[in-house]
Amino acid sequence: MSAALLEVQDLKMHFPVKEGVFQRARKVCRAVDGVTLSLPAGSTIGLVGESGCGKSTLGKCIVRLHQPTSGSIRFMDTELAGLSTSSLKPHRRQLQMIFQDPVESLNSRHMVGEILAEPFLIHAMGDAGWRRRKVLDLLDRVGLPANAAERYPFEFSGGQRQRIGIARAIALEPKLIVCDEPVSALDVSIQSQVLNLMLDLQRDMGLSYLFIAHNLAVVKHVSDQVAIMYLGRIVELADADEIYRNARHPYTRALISAIPQPDPRHRQNRIVLSGDVPSPINPPSGCPFHPRCPHATDRCRAEVPALRPAPGASGHTVSCHYDL
């Protein structure tokens, strides 16, 4: 495995929650609460969890759309966590993002050609003719016709808009792309088209992906490692195949059993968790998962479990007091 492109150490993102007449910040929302992960160049880490688990916030911290509260983000040997906006600019070329809803991430008043040329303008690259050639090349790479450059985003279908979003993200030939639910809003037959495109681009350009999604089957398909998040923390991290074969954390097991499989011969026994995901403003004591965990003990209610190596496979870590 090559050297790590991205190293995140004990990253925390706490948001003040303003309350009362004077809007004083009395409470803290611990959206991301001590995340550590490492991503080798050219590989993909999948980030899975339910709404409010902090997966999108973590992604936004890494591309520095948020200024993290504490912790470290080392990207290509530079510490990004404390950098000012101006000193970030050269690094932004290497670090891009793809959003769930391509409509909202594309300027509806600009033609696709202008949208795709903008990254080059911002970084003062080439002349008009060069940029025009680059735009046509990008459209070709993501499987859109050349005449797409003279059309507006609303003229395209959801899948095509996501292709435009991908074209913009790869324009500056970045090293890392944070993909926040890139296929969740797409129809089934379009999802596989976009996933194939993303895998092709990764192979051709040596891209690394941080792939955020709630669909575990999709995440497993594209990822080398998978991290399961719950209430701002990683509760389990392992190789993609290992985590599905050998899930250790009761939350991971419940998540896997809850995905409906498209095969009526295997109507599996769902592990149905009771209750909802607790709020990150007022997280439970001890292990954040204990109120929903079928195996919880007094120790789980009192003591936060550390992320520790799971017995057996190397690189598999789990945050549970017990070997279940």
Binding site: E50, S157, L199, A240, P262, R267, I271
Partner: protein, 328 residues
């Protein structure tokens, strides 16, 4: 059979002319069984549900022809007043986004009581008592307290339980659920699906479940209807349809979804292109532009033919399909 849709045609008047969103769709919903309707955006699955409930957007949406038989009546032509008695009473509805199905300015108790007051009792206290019981049945903790709360105070999963309580309040014969778990998290989806199944076991209603998720279909349904661009591409018992899909669209969909058993980072077989818009449908089979097995005969619409017991497909080449290569 509690409900039967026969040759339903539903159209919309738009600036671009009259568009046919549902074009000759027929299927039965049976007591105690779940019928799944699956398809991608624009296939007409939700319009079919709205047609049955007679909730088509007015004045654009119209049922052009066909019938919807329920309890000896044809819902397609029933007077509005009579339809109102059936809707929410003997036919219940569950929608995708519980927040839009619930009224934000009325308490849970008031909204649920309204259903009982409309269909079951005139006594308000009794209605409230029935509401508490119903909330308990759908697994809402401390329902006596919850009836005083407002929709925004509940989580998404709890709100969907309230919507299910409303849909089942009057012990309906049929429940129409349009993407009931799409907006929910995976573990909450599991809770809601489990709840719907156990309530069906107990109350014996027929469920018509509309979804784009083939996993949910495989998990929940007895029979499936696959829709494409307003028509039925294939229908049949769930086991048969998943084991021997007999329409290239069904087969393409099943092959294209990544599963936990798919080798990682392998190329997924895809369906090329995208769903045609209703304004520019090809003559003949509507899937032909995306179909890898297109032949000249496809410019004539194939009939929905019986290909096995209870199994139908609208493809000229269904007989050869098993021998045709998956991704040519």
């Amino acid at each position: 059979m509690v409900l039967e849709v026969r040759d339903l045609v539903t159209t919309f008047d738009t600036d671009a002319g009259t568009l046919t969103a549902v074009d000759g769709v027929s299927f039965p919903v049976r007591r105690g069984r779940t019928l799944g309707i699956v398809g991608e955006s624009g296939c007409g699955k939700s319009v079919t549900a709205l047609s049955i409930m007679r909730l088509l957007p007015q004045p654009m949406g119209k049922i052009r022809s066909g019938s919807i038989l329920f309890d000896g009546k044809d819902l397609a032509t029933l007077p509005t007043e009579e339809m109102r008695k059936i809707r929410g009473g003997r036919i219940g509805m569950i929608f995708q986004e519980p927040m839009t199905a619930l009224n934000p300015v009325h308490s849970i108790g008031r909204q649920l009581s309204e259903v009982f007051l409309l269909h079951r009792t005139r006594n308000e206290r009794e209605a409230l008592q029935m509401s508490v019981e119903m909330l308990r049945k759908v697994g809402i903790p401390s329902p006596e307290i919850r009836i005083g709360e407002y929709p925004h105070q509940l989580s998404g999963g709890m709100r969907q339980r309230v919507v299910i309580a409303m849909a089942l309040a009057c012990k309906p014969d049929v429940v129409i659920a349009d993407e009931p778990t799409t907006a929910l998290d995976v573990t909450i989806q599991a809770q809601i699906l489990e709840l719907m199944q156990s309530l069906q076991d107990e109350m014996g209603m027929g469920i018509m479940l509309i979804t784009h998720d083939l996993g949910v279909i495989a998990d929940m349904c007895d029979d499936v209807v696959v829709m494409y661009a307003g028509r039925i591409a294939e229908s049949g018992p769930v086991q048969t349809l998943f084991s021997t899909p007999s329409h290239p669209y069904t087969r393409g969909l099943l092959n294209s979804i990544p599963r936990l058993t798919t080798p990682r980072k392998s190329r997924l077989p895809i369906i090329e292109g995208m769903v045609p818009s209703l304004a520019e449908l090809p003559a003949g089979c509507r899937f032909q532009n995306r179909c890898p097995y297109r032949i000249d005969a496809c410019s004539v619409q194939p009939a929905l033919e019986e290909v096995g017991p209870g199994h139908r497909s609208a493809c000229h080449r269904w007989r050869e399909l098993p021998s045709l290569p998956v991704s040519p």
